[in-house]
């Protein structure tokens, strides 16, 4: 068992680290139960339907540049949605995390006379809540390289999703990939994120087979760097 205090949690939205502004993060994931009860049954029968997930953020208000208000106010009307990565037990290699490509459906600011100004936000996911493992904890990279590997018991067949949070870019940036392998020797590109040239987040989904071993790889342009975090979600 591995218990962890809630204060270890981290959360990024579209490449911005909101951890230092938040006091509580909560997410509910559900699957609809479609009624399949027919004549002759003695009890209701339900079949699982569509996945659904929401994310609720509570924290302190900060109106500074790149702080929580700027990020969550912009997310409210973001056409492409907002990409969240939430790590309940912190950002460590192979720690469990959740990714959500979502639409922010509410952003509230409160300034009570007797307390601190607060921000709260709610988001509705477009992709359910995807559970994964940290393939690359937040770190700056300046040259080509790869992470250690994440090993599953065997090849899976339901595809995968990758979440990338790029928090700092210098120069012309670079590119991050999630690669898979049958033998932990030669790795094949699985998820290739678009080249990163600015603070951003990406979610990329692939279908089909995902081999047993997975790792992050990165290519950094000359005289450049990327500071990024990557989450791998096997389905």
């Amino acid at each position: 068992m591995s218990f962890g205090h809630g204060t270890l949690a981290k959360l990024w939205a579209n490449g911005y680290d909101l951890t230092a502004y938040l006091q509580n993060v909560a997410s509910a994931a559900t699957v609809t139960a479609e009624d399949a009860t027919t004549l002759g049954k003695t009890a209701k029968v339900a079949l699982p339907g569509l996945a659904d997930a929401t994310l609720n953020l509570d924290g302190l208000f900060d109106g500074g540049a790149n702080a929580v208000d700027q990020v969550l106010a912009a997310a409210l009307r973001a056409a492409g949605g907002t990409i969240f990565t939430w790590l309940p037990q912190g950002d460590g290699f192979v720690n469990v995390g959740y990714g959500l490509l979502s639409d922010e459906t509410g952003y509230n600011v409160a300034t009570p006379a007797t307390g601190l100004a607060k921000s709260t936000a709610t988001a509705q996911s477009r992709t359910g809540r995807e559970r994964g493992l940290v393939a690359h904890a937040l770190a700056q990279r300046t040259t080509w390289g790869n992470s250690s590997w994440i090993a599953a018991a065997a090849t899976s067949s339901n595809g995968a999703a990758g979440y990338l949070q790029v928090t700092v870019v210098t120069g012309t940036g670079g590119m991050v990939r999630l690669c898979h392998s049958m033998d932990n020797m030669t790795y094949v590109d699985l998820i290739t994120f678009a080249a990163s040239t600015a603070v951003e987040a990406q979610r990329v989904e692939v279908s089909g087979s995902v081999y047993r071993y997975v790792r992050a790889e990165w290519t950094i342009n000359t005289s450049s760097s990327l500071t990024f975090q990557a989450l791998f979600c096997r389905k």
Binding site: D183, V188, T192
Partner: protein
Amino acid sequence: MRQRIGQRMGKGTQAAAYRARVGLSYPPGRRAEAGEVVSDLPQASVAWLLAEGWIEEEPPPQPLPVVAVATGEGDREKMR
């Protein structure tokens, strides 16, 4: 443009060449992009990479035809 990445082989040795159909990374710190022809893939990985369709065998390069070139009167005589 075709690029060839190969390790130095002993005299008379011809390493099998493969065209990558997707980006590949393999030891020691090598990277091949889709379309590149490589001849230094780990032998243990070749079977599954072929079976999964990630690489395809590249035919060995054809030897250049031998062409006699006349360089002088005497040579022209020999070529007749």
